[in-house]
Assembly symmetry: D2
Homo-oligomer: 284 residues x 4
Amino acid sequence: MKDTATLLINCPDRKGIVATVADFLYKHNANILHADEHQDSGKNLFFLRTEWDMSDFALSKKKFEIRFSPIADKFQMKWKVFYSADKPKIAIFVSQEEHCVSDLLYRHKSKELYCGISLIVSNHPNAKALADYHGVPFYEIKVNKVNLIDAEQRILTLLKENNIDLVVLARYMRILSGRFIQAFGNPIINIHHSFLPAFVGAKPYHQAYERGVKVIGATAHYVTADLDQGPIIEQDVLRVSHRDSVEDLAQKGKDMEKIVLSRAVKWHIENRVLTYGNKTVVFD
Amino acid sequence: MKDTATLLINCPDRKGIVATVADFLYKHNANILHADEHQDSGKNLFFLRTEWDMSDFALSKKKFEIRFSPIADKFQMKWKVFYSADKPKIAIFVSQEEHCVSDLLYRHKSKELYCGISLIVSNHPNAKALADYHGVPFYEIKVNKVNLIDAEQRILTLLKENNIDLVVLARYMRILSGRFIQAFGNPIINIHHSFLPAFVGAKPYHQAYERGVKVIGATAHYVTADLDQGPIIEQDVLRVSHRDSVEDLAQKGKDMEKIVLSRAVKWHIENRVLTYGNKTVVFD
Amino acid sequence: MKDTATLLINCPDRKGIVATVADFLYKHNANILHADEHQDSGKNLFFLRTEWDMSDFALSKKKFEIRFSPIADKFQMKWKVFYSADKPKIAIFVSQEEHCVSDLLYRHKSKELYCGISLIVSNHPNAKALADYHGVPFYEIKVNKVNLIDAEQRILTLLKENNIDLVVLARYMRILSGRFIQAFGNPIINIHHSFLPAFVGAKPYHQAYERGVKVIGATAHYVTADLDQGPIIEQDVLRVSHRDSVEDLAQKGKDMEKIVLSRAVKWHIENRVLTYGNKTVVFD
Amino acid sequence: MKDTATLLINCPDRKGIVATVADFLYKHNANILHADEHQDSGKNLFFLRTEWDMSDFALSKKKFEIRFSPIADKFQMKWKVFYSADKPKIAIFVSQEEHCVSDLLYRHKSKELYCGISLIVSNHPNAKALADYHGVPFYEIKVNKVNLIDAEQRILTLLKENNIDLVVLARYMRILSGRFIQAFGNPIINIHHSFLPAFVGAKPYHQAYERGVKVIGATAHYVTADLDQGPIIEQDVLRVSHRDSVEDLAQKGKDMEKIVLSRAVKWHIENRVLTYGNKTVVFD
């Protein structure tokens, strides 16, 4: 794993942005590894992702901040720089179905996901054995209508104490309150087991079966206060037929859910996803 | 092209159906070419499609009707038999976009679609040159709110005069009235340019763009009085990204629309599609 | 899980097979759950798979054998009947890469794979922790050119002692000798990490990278004495681009390998796969 | 259609390329519409594609050449600039199967392909009616072993007289001689009806059927003197099963061939394809 920095920029589109940024990095001896850009001409927005090797780079974190700020101001940039040395810390939330959490833990163990997995939260005891096998602290926290505020507060405290950068809802079947989402403040990624916006809400495979669709899907998206309405990061689909029962859809769907969620998490922790409005730019 | 008959059956599921039907066909010397069956165990329904070579077969159309009826009654079958000698007659409706009609005409010409294409109806003059090239009568019939009843009546008369078995809406941008659908009585297949039930109604590619989906789709379905709610015959999808504008979605979607519609039409005219409730069984 | 029987038939095609078999099952009060058939008209072969509920069925295993044999003889059938009560016993062979074995064990644990996993054989120690977590006996048996005959004999003994019905090569990087394959006698399924017949042999992702393909694949096939030439059960593919390094291909390919192998194993243990010549019929 | 220029660069990778090129374009007032880059770190190569609006651009074609040359020399660039005002001129070669040529002509007519189609060459008379309908000159030129040199010379003369930039082999079933390929000098794109490198040579669908594959493919590639070995531009695949006869494979494959070929042609004429070694970079 190379020691790299990744710069994400989102700003109004105008001439000279690339020339200026490229010149800045060149002058400070950055060895560019990847660069990708996008223009939304309808909204006149410009997006840039560039990653460089830190080994020859002339600027410390602090100096980068100081030297790059004037450029950012000139072009009205929203920007962030991520250093690979600072691995993001993740918390996974799960309910009874273990296929997604099991998959994420396996990918972490096999070094596909470059992050820390600090803890697992569940409203069921099932996943404890799996968490133990992977050596990840497991917290069973029952959430229901009565204890909602207290339970969410307990979870929030855990997240804060562990400096969690990202929460992944790996088939977590409780709806997080708007209060929780706001209080946490960092991104939350959810896997919804349908091709959104089709089949919003509960029991999407039942809905899909009733409608008689020939293709089912899964959607990984950022969580916002509006249920299943947040920016979509990744989707995928698979063909089904009249031969598939609801149970078949649920079974077949699991493979898709795992893969879609893991892609979204991977892209997020590699700083490939920018959000604007209710959409994402994914530099894959 | 072999001279064949195809029997479609839909009835309550109980023991002995296959044994009885297979025995009936065997006794009358049918050489079975294909057989496919399906059970919807939730609704306790049984579906059968069987196709046989007519060359050695012992029963005329009329005699089949007489001899098979007692079996059908015993098992409470809804059934139909189709003879390949009776090619279905199709009418295509189209508006300005010609990609679907062009594709259907090409497939007909190259003998992929085994049917007659009797006429094309459009509310625009565009497709006339194409219709002429393929030697298919073309009727430009403007439909608007004012003349709706008269215009639909004119179309209905054309369909009746030509004994049309199937209407294909090949990107026909007018909504047919419930009155028209009922008066026609035979099936109507529509191509909707989204993955239904997502993005029902007008401008689905615009809706898809606004929602920021990563996959777009197309859906071929039978038309009912409820807009975009009829039984789905076929769907397919393709990946898109933040780089695709609305125009890109529309352009890329065309290939998918053509293929999905042509599959649905092909399966329909090969008598592979059974509908029940608001769903289809497709023996592909 | 219902208590069922599945009959697989492969015989020369002629009139009356379905009528005879359906009548036989009906007379002995079988409640048919699924039936599927196929004709290879070029080779004049007929294939049938039918599964029925054992609860009302009138024949014991032994009586079925006796009563069905005359029918089988009359139609020159190769046939086999499988009872769900007799779960197949599987041995998994693995080398250093654990993604496939991990996936199979997870699917077994979550009851997607209805079989016993009796043991794991490996030429490396890696997978031991995983085997322990799942409570499956693990045998590390080094195989090399020098000890090949002895090592294979040790493995064969293990397979025989455990009455193994199926060996699954889950990225096992040793080539089994023809002697071993023959001595074992039961089916062996391998996952090859390319779209066969492209990139036969070693390092298929390197071969794919060198050729500059835009799609990579994985193939699950039965093992025969000819390397990578056995009957194909399942294949799948995924798109790649110039941006993918060899390492990216290997990483992305893992998801595909897991899914393709698990589908093939599932279909095999559900008795959905018939082989003839060097091909398979898969009743999915 | 905007009036644009597209610059393609291929050079050894080193620091400062992007900064230098971006600065050059910025100084001459280019409004960048798209930019994409790629590094092959194994071979230490850098690839760039950038497209800008010509409306405000300060340099004429001639001046661009003069001013950019020193930069190109400094970085040892292979480079080319394409102006959208200079539409590429295409010749299509076809044999009996018309699905690909029909598709290309339709896409050209509907303005999806931004090019001129100057002429069609065929060794059969079939496609003449289609060519006439689209108003494209049609040349029936029989090629066989006896007249090969003369026939190819006749075709070459046609290509030269019409200043053809690209030849598209749209299921043209004759092998072009190495002499012809060299004498023409400009790119030739072929559609091969298999997933190369599987099933090189004649009758790939027969080969696929015999091998019992579960997925078939199509490959668009640049033609070189080595049959079916040139750089791959695009590939796609579709699932098949034991139910598909060779004829079914050929029929189903047509849709794939059309789409794969049209994508490759579109990307080529939009200057999105760079070749190096025997591979392509496709900036899609």
